[in-house]
Point group: C2
Chain length 167, copies 2
């Protein structure tokens, strides 16, 4: 994130891979740099939230995704020594399964792409909650809450249940 | 809206009044100035979406509201001669019924407050859709779509159904 003084809006994609896996990327930028996260990023002015999720899935993870459903909206507020941030993130789950990117793919601003079962990936607690709401992981709620508290993150979740198709 | 070059984030409140009414305010500012709208406005950095809805219900409509449920998230994008805008609006429905503000109440930046049945209020098409998703009005979908098209507004709706309590 380039700015810590205004609300940032973004979107991400939950992209199922073969065999109960999900597509993760190792982010090099943003407040959670260094973690295995989901492909996503800031929404450009005039770009729709869904377009952001689709674009980031392609740019960061090399995945072309079909129909997307909103599975939750998330508000994250943090006060850190290096600055506050206030982020609104929209999570879209892709229908179907996406193949891993071809060998030699290098995503924008990511150090790697990996399709793996969520239980085998040490991911950020915000991602655990998003995956849980999307119905593709089952990290215990108490574990997620404890990890968010350790990180000092206030995360308000608006899960959408079975997913809302854009109309 | 003070800015037309970045995404604006806001929240509004659907506040039921006595006898199947809803609380409307006549907005003096923003892209829909002059219409009867719902109390709402921009989210301040660090303020939660729910806090925004609660604050605006008090400041603009003089209503103190109890528990709030998200009933939908809305993305509105417009290209107008006087400038583009890109707005994310979160709609929260108040539980229970709020009394009208006392005589002599003047809300911030609004020309009036009115509790009336939605079918009797000439409101903006974005509001028609929000009220419909919140389960308090039944404007025909085709009428809403036609009115949005006349206004040149691209509105993407993420209704949440029965409402998601903040967790």
């Amino acid at each position: 994130l380039s700015s810590f003084d205004r609300i940032t809006v973004g979107a991400l994609a939950v992209v199922p891979g073969p065999g109960q896996t999900v597509t993760f990327v190792r982010q090099e930028r943003g407040p959670y740099a260094g973690w295995w996260l989901l492909p996503g990023g800031k929404t450009d002015f005039g770009e729709s939230l869904e377009e952001t999720a689709r674009r980031e899935a392609a740019e960061e993870a090399g995945c072309r995704v079909g129909p997307l459903r909103l599975t939750g909206a998330y508000e994250m507020r943090v006060t850190w020594a290096r600055g506050d941030y206030h982020l609104l993130m929209f999570a879209f789950r892709a229908e179907g399964v996406a193949a891993a990117p071809p060998d030699g793919f290098y995503g924008h601003h990511v150090a790697g792409v990996r399709q793996d079962r969520p239980s085998r990936v040490r991911t950020h607690p915000t991602v655990m909650r998003i995956l849980r709401d999307a119905g593709v992981a089952d990290h215990p709620q108490a574990e997620i809450d404890a990890a968010l508290a350790r990180e000092g993150i206030t995360m308000t979740s608006y899960p959408v249940g079975a997913g809302t198709l854009v109309r």
